[in-house]
Protein backbone atom coordinates (compact mmCIF):
# COMPACT_ATOMS: atom_id res chain seq x y z
CA UNK A 1 0.00 0.00 0.00
CA UNK A 2 1.48 3.31 -1.08
CA UNK A 3 -0.85 5.84 0.51
CA UNK A 4 -1.47 6.62 4.17
CA UNK A 5 -4.50 8.82 3.46
CA UNK A 6 -6.74 10.13 0.68
CA UNK A 7 -4.90 13.46 0.89
CA UNK A 8 -1.62 11.68 0.17
CA UNK A 9 -3.26 9.84 -2.71
CA UNK A 10 -4.54 13.03 -4.34
CA UNK A 11 -1.28 14.89 -3.67
CA UNK A 12 0.82 12.24 -5.51
CA UNK A 13 3.95 13.36 -3.68
CA UNK A 14 3.54 16.91 -5.02
CA UNK A 15 2.95 15.76 -8.61
CA UNK A 16 -0.86 15.65 -8.30
CA UNK A 17 -1.43 18.25 -11.01
CA UNK A 18 0.64 16.32 -13.56
CA UNK A 19 -0.52 12.81 -12.69
CA UNK A 20 -4.23 13.67 -12.36
CA UNK A 21 -4.02 16.06 -15.31
CA UNK A 22 -2.90 13.07 -17.39
CA UNK A 23 -5.52 10.64 -16.11
CA UNK A 24 -8.35 13.19 -16.32
CA UNK A 25 -7.60 13.88 -19.98
CA UNK A 26 -7.32 10.13 -20.69
CA UNK A 27 -10.82 9.66 -19.25
CA UNK A 28 -12.12 12.71 -21.15
CA UNK A 29 -10.68 11.45 -24.45
CA UNK A 30 -12.36 8.04 -24.01
CA UNK A 31 -15.65 9.69 -22.97
CA UNK A 32 -15.62 11.99 -26.01
CA UNK A 33 -14.86 9.13 -28.37
CA UNK A 34 -17.58 6.88 -26.91
CA UNK A 35 -20.10 9.75 -27.08
CA UNK A 36 -19.11 10.48 -30.67
CA UNK A 37 -19.33 6.79 -31.66
CA UNK A 38 -22.81 6.54 -30.15
CA UNK A 39 -24.09 9.72 -31.83
CA UNK A 40 -22.73 8.74 -35.24
CA UNK A 41 -24.12 5.21 -34.94
CA UNK A 42 -27.58 6.47 -33.96
CA UNK A 43 -27.61 8.83 -36.93
CA UNK A 44 -26.56 6.02 -39.31
CA UNK A 45 -29.24 3.64 -37.98
CA UNK A 46 -31.92 6.33 -38.28
CA UNK A 47 -30.81 7.10 -41.82
CA UNK A 48 -30.80 3.40 -42.83
CA UNK A 49 -34.31 2.91 -41.43
CA UNK A 50 -35.53 6.03 -43.27
CA UNK A 51 -33.87 4.90 -46.51
CA UNK A 52 -35.51 1.49 -46.17
CA UNK A 53 -38.96 3.04 -45.61
CA UNK A 54 -38.45 5.30 -48.64
CA UNK A 55 -37.59 2.29 -50.81
CA UNK A 56 -40.65 0.38 -49.59
CA UNK A 57 -43.02 3.26 -50.31
CA UNK A 58 -41.50 3.71 -53.77
CA UNK A 59 -41.90 0.03 -54.64
Amino acid sequence: MNWGSWDAFWAMGGYGLYVWGSYAVAVAVAAIEIWQLRARRRAAVTEAVRESARARSAA
Partner: protein, 253 residues
Protein backbone atom coordinates in the same frame (compact mmCIF):
# COMPACT_ATOMS: atom_id res chain seq x y z
CA UNK B 1 -24.92 -10.99 -55.58
CA UNK B 2 -26.35 -12.19 -52.30
CA UNK B 3 -24.81 -15.24 -50.76
CA UNK B 4 -26.22 -16.31 -47.47
CA UNK B 5 -23.90 -19.13 -46.46
CA UNK B 6 -20.14 -19.46 -46.53
CA UNK B 7 -19.27 -22.30 -48.92
CA UNK B 8 -15.90 -22.88 -47.25
CA UNK B 9 -13.44 -20.93 -45.16
CA UNK B 10 -12.55 -18.05 -47.35
CA UNK B 11 -11.01 -14.71 -46.39
CA UNK B 12 -12.95 -13.02 -49.16
CA UNK B 13 -16.12 -14.08 -47.38
CA UNK B 14 -15.17 -11.94 -44.37
CA UNK B 15 -14.03 -9.11 -46.61
CA UNK B 16 -17.63 -8.41 -47.57
CA UNK B 17 -19.27 -5.62 -45.49
CA UNK B 18 -22.44 -7.68 -45.39
CA UNK B 19 -20.83 -10.59 -43.52
CA UNK B 20 -18.49 -8.45 -41.46
CA UNK B 21 -21.24 -6.21 -40.07
CA UNK B 22 -22.93 -8.84 -37.83
CA UNK B 23 -19.60 -10.50 -36.99
CA UNK B 24 -18.15 -7.19 -35.75
CA UNK B 25 -21.35 -6.58 -33.79
CA UNK B 26 -20.86 -9.87 -31.94
CA UNK B 27 -17.19 -9.13 -31.20
CA UNK B 28 -17.63 -5.60 -29.79
CA UNK B 29 -19.01 -6.57 -26.32
CA UNK B 30 -16.14 -9.00 -25.75
CA UNK B 31 -13.42 -6.47 -26.55
CA UNK B 32 -15.23 -3.76 -24.57
CA UNK B 33 -15.52 -6.05 -21.53
CA UNK B 34 -11.85 -7.02 -21.78
CA UNK B 35 -10.92 -3.33 -22.00
CA UNK B 36 -12.87 -2.52 -18.81
CA UNK B 37 -11.48 -5.49 -16.83
CA UNK B 38 -7.89 -4.89 -17.93
CA UNK B 39 -8.19 -1.15 -17.16
CA UNK B 40 -9.39 -1.89 -13.61
CA UNK B 41 -6.59 -4.41 -13.01
CA UNK B 42 -4.05 -2.07 -14.62
CA UNK B 43 -5.10 0.93 -12.51
CA UNK B 44 -5.05 -1.19 -9.37
CA UNK B 45 -1.44 -2.13 -10.06
CA UNK B 46 -0.57 1.39 -11.22
CA UNK B 47 -1.69 3.11 -8.03
CA UNK B 48 -1.83 0.51 -5.29
CA UNK B 49 0.87 -2.05 -6.08
CA UNK B 50 3.64 -0.36 -8.07
CA UNK B 51 6.10 1.38 -5.72
CA UNK B 52 7.25 5.00 -5.77
CA UNK B 53 10.05 5.54 -8.29
CA UNK B 54 13.44 6.18 -6.68
CA UNK B 55 14.36 9.12 -8.93
CA UNK B 56 11.05 10.47 -10.29
CA UNK B 57 8.84 10.04 -7.22
CA UNK B 58 5.14 9.68 -8.04
CA UNK B 59 5.30 11.59 -11.34
CA UNK B 60 6.34 8.40 -13.13
CA UNK B 61 2.77 7.04 -12.69
CA UNK B 62 1.94 8.92 -15.90
CA UNK B 63 3.77 6.07 -17.64
CA UNK B 64 0.73 3.80 -17.29
CA UNK B 65 -1.15 5.95 -19.81
CA UNK B 66 1.70 7.57 -21.69
CA UNK B 67 3.46 4.45 -22.99
CA UNK B 68 0.29 2.48 -23.92
CA UNK B 69 -1.11 5.55 -25.73
CA UNK B 70 2.18 6.13 -27.56
CA UNK B 71 2.48 2.46 -28.57
CA UNK B 72 -1.12 2.42 -29.81
CA UNK B 73 -0.61 5.67 -31.73
CA UNK B 74 2.18 4.04 -33.78
CA UNK B 75 0.62 0.57 -34.02
CA UNK B 76 -2.75 1.93 -35.17
CA UNK B 77 -1.06 4.00 -37.86
CA UNK B 78 0.67 0.91 -39.26
CA UNK B 79 -2.60 -1.06 -39.19
CA UNK B 80 -4.42 1.88 -40.82
CA UNK B 81 -1.80 2.14 -43.59
CA UNK B 82 -1.94 -1.66 -44.08
CA UNK B 83 -5.72 -1.70 -44.62
CA UNK B 84 -5.54 1.41 -46.77
CA UNK B 85 -2.89 -0.29 -48.94
CA UNK B 86 -4.94 -3.50 -49.19
CA UNK B 87 -7.97 -1.44 -50.21
CA UNK B 88 -5.92 0.39 -52.82
CA UNK B 89 -4.34 -2.79 -54.24
CA UNK B 90 -7.33 -5.15 -54.25
CA UNK B 91 -10.16 -2.63 -54.36
CA UNK B 92 -11.79 -4.25 -51.33
CA UNK B 93 -14.28 -1.79 -49.84
CA UNK B 94 -14.15 -3.13 -46.32
CA UNK B 95 -10.35 -2.71 -46.09
CA UNK B 96 -10.65 0.98 -46.93
CA UNK B 97 -13.48 1.37 -44.44
CA UNK B 98 -11.24 -0.18 -41.76
CA UNK B 99 -8.54 2.41 -42.48
CA UNK B 100 -11.09 5.22 -42.22
CA UNK B 101 -12.44 3.76 -38.96
CA UNK B 102 -8.99 3.55 -37.37
CA UNK B 103 -7.91 7.16 -38.02
CA UNK B 104 -9.93 8.97 -35.28
CA UNK B 105 -8.90 6.48 -32.58
CA UNK B 106 -5.29 6.75 -33.72
CA UNK B 107 -5.44 10.53 -33.63
CA UNK B 108 -6.85 10.48 -30.09
CA UNK B 109 -4.12 8.08 -28.93
CA UNK B 110 -1.49 10.36 -30.45
CA UNK B 111 -2.99 13.42 -28.76
CA UNK B 112 -3.04 11.54 -25.45
CA UNK B 113 0.61 10.48 -25.83
CA UNK B 114 1.59 14.11 -26.48
CA UNK B 115 -0.55 15.51 -23.67
CA UNK B 116 0.65 13.04 -21.02
CA UNK B 117 4.19 13.50 -22.33
CA UNK B 118 3.93 17.25 -21.78
CA UNK B 119 2.66 16.75 -18.24
CA UNK B 120 5.46 14.32 -17.57
CA UNK B 121 8.11 16.47 -19.22
CA UNK B 122 7.36 19.51 -17.06
CA UNK B 123 8.34 17.95 -13.68
CA UNK B 124 11.17 15.80 -15.09
CA UNK B 125 12.75 18.07 -17.74
CA UNK B 126 11.41 21.44 -16.64
CA UNK B 127 9.52 22.01 -19.91
CA UNK B 128 6.15 20.95 -21.30
CA UNK B 129 7.53 20.84 -24.79
CA UNK B 130 10.93 20.66 -26.48
CA UNK B 131 11.67 20.26 -30.20
CA UNK B 132 13.26 16.91 -29.63
CA UNK B 133 13.24 14.25 -32.40
CA UNK B 134 10.88 11.92 -30.50
CA UNK B 135 8.36 14.65 -29.65
CA UNK B 136 8.52 16.30 -33.06
CA UNK B 137 8.02 13.04 -34.98
CA UNK B 138 5.07 12.14 -32.71
CA UNK B 139 3.57 15.57 -33.44
CA UNK B 140 4.00 14.86 -37.17
CA UNK B 141 2.10 11.59 -36.58
CA UNK B 142 -0.82 13.61 -35.18
CA UNK B 143 -0.76 15.83 -38.29
CA UNK B 144 -0.70 12.71 -40.52
CA UNK B 145 -3.81 11.34 -38.81
CA UNK B 146 -5.56 14.73 -38.99
CA UNK B 147 -4.47 15.16 -42.62
CA UNK B 148 -5.87 11.72 -43.49
CA UNK B 149 -9.20 12.53 -41.80
CA UNK B 150 -9.42 16.00 -43.41
CA UNK B 151 -8.47 14.72 -46.86
CA UNK B 152 -11.13 12.01 -46.77
CA UNK B 153 -13.72 14.45 -45.43
CA UNK B 154 -12.97 16.86 -48.28
CA UNK B 155 -13.73 14.32 -51.04
CA UNK B 156 -17.42 13.55 -51.61
CA UNK B 157 -17.05 10.27 -53.51
CA UNK B 158 -16.17 7.63 -50.85
CA UNK B 159 -14.16 5.43 -53.24
CA UNK B 160 -12.03 8.37 -54.37
CA UNK B 161 -11.63 9.47 -50.76
CA UNK B 162 -10.42 5.94 -49.93
CA UNK B 163 -7.77 6.10 -52.66
CA UNK B 164 -6.52 9.58 -51.82
CA UNK B 165 -6.38 8.73 -48.12
CA UNK B 166 -4.54 5.49 -48.86
CA UNK B 167 -1.76 7.31 -50.71
CA UNK B 168 -1.30 9.72 -47.79
CA UNK B 169 -1.40 6.89 -45.22
CA UNK B 170 1.17 4.81 -47.11
CA UNK B 171 3.60 7.69 -47.59
CA UNK B 172 3.22 8.67 -43.92
CA UNK B 173 4.13 5.21 -42.65
CA UNK B 174 7.81 6.18 -43.05
CA UNK B 175 7.30 8.35 -39.96
CA UNK B 176 6.61 5.38 -37.68
CA UNK B 177 10.14 3.90 -37.66
CA UNK B 178 11.44 7.45 -37.35
CA UNK B 179 9.43 7.88 -34.13
CA UNK B 180 10.45 4.49 -32.82
CA UNK B 181 14.17 4.79 -33.51
CA UNK B 182 14.42 8.58 -32.93
CA UNK B 183 15.77 8.02 -29.43
CA UNK B 184 18.61 5.96 -30.89
CA UNK B 185 19.35 7.95 -34.03
CA UNK B 186 19.43 11.35 -32.41
CA UNK B 187 20.57 12.66 -29.09
CA UNK B 188 17.14 13.24 -27.61
CA UNK B 189 15.97 14.58 -24.29
CA UNK B 190 13.34 11.85 -24.39
CA UNK B 191 14.71 8.71 -22.77
CA UNK B 192 15.41 5.52 -24.70
CA UNK B 193 13.15 2.49 -24.65
CA UNK B 194 12.72 0.89 -21.22
CA UNK B 195 11.23 -2.21 -22.77
CA UNK B 196 12.81 -4.13 -25.63
CA UNK B 197 13.17 -7.71 -26.85
CA UNK B 198 16.27 -7.97 -24.67
CA UNK B 199 14.31 -7.27 -21.53
CA UNK B 200 13.25 -4.40 -19.37
CA UNK B 201 15.00 -1.89 -17.15
CA UNK B 202 11.89 -1.34 -15.01
CA UNK B 203 10.76 -2.81 -11.70
CA UNK B 204 8.59 -5.88 -12.32
CA UNK B 205 5.33 -4.50 -10.91
CA UNK B 206 5.76 -1.26 -12.89
CA UNK B 207 6.35 -3.26 -16.06
CA UNK B 208 3.41 -5.60 -15.45
CA UNK B 209 1.10 -2.65 -14.76
CA UNK B 210 2.23 -0.92 -17.93
CA UNK B 211 1.80 -4.03 -20.09
CA UNK B 212 -1.71 -4.63 -18.69
CA UNK B 213 -2.64 -1.02 -19.43
CA UNK B 214 -1.22 -1.44 -22.94
CA UNK B 215 -3.44 -4.51 -23.43
CA UNK B 216 -6.41 -2.55 -22.07
CA UNK B 217 -5.78 0.22 -24.60
CA UNK B 218 -5.43 -2.34 -27.33
CA UNK B 219 -8.81 -3.92 -26.50
CA UNK B 220 -10.39 -0.48 -26.22
CA UNK B 221 -9.04 0.50 -29.64
CA UNK B 222 -10.34 -2.71 -31.23
CA UNK B 223 -13.81 -2.16 -29.74
CA UNK B 224 -13.90 1.50 -30.81
CA UNK B 225 -12.71 0.71 -34.34
CA UNK B 226 -15.21 -2.13 -34.76
CA UNK B 227 -18.09 0.11 -33.64
CA UNK B 228 -16.93 2.83 -36.02
CA UNK B 229 -16.44 0.51 -38.98
CA UNK B 230 -19.97 -0.86 -38.47
CA UNK B 231 -21.30 2.68 -38.57
CA UNK B 232 -19.31 3.45 -41.71
CA UNK B 233 -20.61 0.27 -43.38
CA UNK B 234 -24.15 1.35 -42.56
CA UNK B 235 -23.57 4.91 -43.81
CA UNK B 236 -22.21 3.68 -47.12
CA UNK B 237 -24.49 0.70 -47.69
CA UNK B 238 -27.76 2.17 -46.47
CA UNK B 239 -29.35 1.50 -49.87
CA UNK B 240 -28.15 -2.12 -50.09
CA UNK B 241 -30.62 -5.00 -49.98
CA UNK B 242 -28.97 -6.65 -46.99
CA UNK B 243 -29.37 -3.48 -44.91
CA UNK B 244 -33.07 -3.40 -45.81
CA UNK B 245 -33.39 -7.03 -44.76
CA UNK B 246 -31.81 -6.23 -41.39
CA UNK B 247 -34.13 -3.23 -40.98
CA UNK B 248 -37.15 -5.44 -41.83
CA UNK B 249 -36.02 -8.09 -39.33
CA UNK B 250 -35.21 -5.34 -36.80
CA UNK B 251 -31.74 -6.84 -36.29
CA UNK B 252 -29.87 -3.75 -37.45
CA UNK B 253 -28.91 -2.74 -33.92
Amino acid sequence: MTRTTAPRFNLYWFSSPQTFYPLAGKLVPWFAALAVILTLVGLYIAFLVAPTDATQGESYRIIFIHVPAAWMSMFLYVVMAFWAAVGLAFNTRLSSMMATAIAPTGALMTFLALWTGALWGRPTWGAYWVWDARLTSELILLFLYLGFIALQAAIDDPRRADKAGAVLAIIGVINVPIIYFSVKWWNTLHQGASVSVKGSSMATTMLVGMLIMALAYWMYAIAAVLIRVRTIILEREKRADWVRELVAKETLK
